[in-house]
């Protein structure tokens, strides 16, 4: 399995913490008897640990039932709170669908374009932020599909100058690389860093105004709260991933460089996409001309390799990846790898050895030989 983006295998330490917390933290953290208080303590401990990793205060960390819910909640609550200013949400063209859809739902989406590696133009972003009626800006820390890092520091300077809060989606970054402090709201995904599925994180700096546009609940920002054992396991996984990030990144970077080099050299008519240097260490994407993405993913699966794809024919939607489309690169025949921790060089080499003939077979089946 070479595609762990947004759904990494659970780290062993997180699994142990989860099992322990099933015994210790099963109760409802809203209850006032001792078991409930113990669950509350574990939940707050999880928030404290995450706050420590991102450089925030415990009370600034809210836990959501998913990364999507964290992003939706962030966009909706900030737009609601700033409705007197306006309802424009400035977004990068390659943000996650959850951000783009929440922007449409809560206000008016204003898209800032990207270049051919998928990086937002900071000058265009600066212009967009200076316009009238902007409630929120949203920019990912890095693109999880192609790996390109975004200019979040410049974006934060611009947003500060304009007095607009900046939401940084670190859903593909946190636990892998340092996400810095150039944000007013930070969203992240526990399942991406090796925690359990079902925990999203939203960190909101003090002073950023939010108002729910949903019903009242004891858990004001994410009604109904989250599973305490899952929250604890997510926090443990983040501490482990964060502590070993430099070593993991170095290993991933070596493997990804190898993939980029060998794919470009050994597969004819291929485009390796995304920035080749300023990037996430573990993500690599390429598109093969005249290749059906679904057949390619199927062929690689049959050969024992699990990969992702942004091609239209691999999803139920007819639309190809909006990320690849915005970059102006080939959308068909797309393969995405997000290497899980511990991927061995031998696994990557076996994949690279198998790839050219799988691609050639798909091309032959489509009658695209020699084009």
């Amino acid at each position: 399995m070479l595609d762990a983006g947004g759904h990494a295998p659970l780290l062993p330490q997180a699994r142990a913490a989860y099992l322990e917390a099933l015994d210790q933290g099963w109760a409802d953290p809203r209850r006032l008897f001792s078991e409930g208080r113990r669950a509350r303590m574990l939940l707050d401990g999880a928030r404290e640990a995450m706050a420590g990793v991102v450089g925030a205060r415990t009370e600034e960390v809210d836990l959501a039932p998913s990364h999507v819910a964290a992003l939706h909640g962030a966009v909706r609550s900030v737009v609601r709170a700033r409705r007197r200013v306006g309802d424009v949400v400035v977004v990068g063209a390659v943000e996650r669908a959850a951000v783009l859809n929440a922007a449409d739902f809560a206000g008016a989406r204003r898209v800032v374009g990207v270049d051919h590696v998928g990086r937002v133009d900071p000058d265009e972003l600066d212009d967009a932020l200076g316009a009238h009626g902007v409630a929120l800006a949203a920019l990912q820390h890095a693109n999880g599909e192609v790996g390109t890092l975004q200019p979040v520091e410049r974006a934060h300077e611009s947003s500060r100058r304009a007095g607009v809060p900046l939401l940084v989606d670190a859903g593909s970054s946190l636990g892998h690389v340092d996400v810095g402090d150039a944000w007013d709201l930070l969203a992240a995904d526990a399942a991406d860093w090796g925690g359990p599925a079902g925990i999203g994180v939203l960190v909101t700096r003090r002073g950023v105004r939010r108002t729910p546009d949903w019903p009242e609940d004891d858990d004001r920002w994410f009604p109904g709260g989250v599973s305490v054992p899952a929250a604890l396991a997510a926090a443990v996984a983040l501490q482990v991933a964060h502590a070993s990030r430099h070593r993991t990144a170095e290993a991933s970077r070596t493997l990804v460089d190898r993939v980029r080099r060998r794919v470009a050299a050994e597969v004819p008519d291929v485009e390796v996409v995304g920035d080749d240097a300023v990037r996430l260490p573990h993500v690599v994407t390429f598109s093969c001309l005249y290749v059906d993405g679904e057949a390619l993913v199927g062929g690689l699966d049959a050969a024992g390799f699990g990969v992702g794809s942004g091609s239209a024919c691999t999803s139920s939607a007819l639309e190809p990846s909006h990320v690849l489309a915005a970059m102006g690169v080939l959308t068909h025949g797309n393969v995405r790898l997000a290497l899980p921790v511990g991927t061995r060089e031998a696994d990557v080499d076996r994949f690279l050895d198998a790839l050219p003939s799988v691609v050639a077979d798909v091309r032959s089946a489509l009658g695209a030989d020699g084009l």
């Binding site: 639309e319 080939l330 489509l366």
Partner: protein
């Protein structure tokens, strides 16, 4: 002005690009080829193909779900 028309209406990716590439292989340099397509991926993949192959993209038009793309072969 068009020399050739490739009708890829109703075909899914990557078939429109493959049809276009076949036509381009047979065509003389400087031939103008018009591609008709309904697959949304063609809007991005025909220009990307032209860039990878060194052909010129002349125009892209979109009318509801119908795409009309014009390329001119290299040479």
């Amino acid at each position: 002005m068009t020399d050739l028309v490739v009708d890829a209406t109703g075909l899914r990716c990557p078939a429109p690009v493959i049809r276009l590439a076949r036509a381009a292989r047979e065509a003389r340099p400087g031939t103008t080829i018009t591609v008709l397509a309904t697959d949304p991926a063609a809007e991005h993949d025909v220009p990307a193909w032209a860039r990878m192959r060194g052909h010129a993209l002349v125009s892209v038009e979109k009318d509801d779900d119908r795409l009309t793309l014009v390329v001119r072969t290299a040479g």
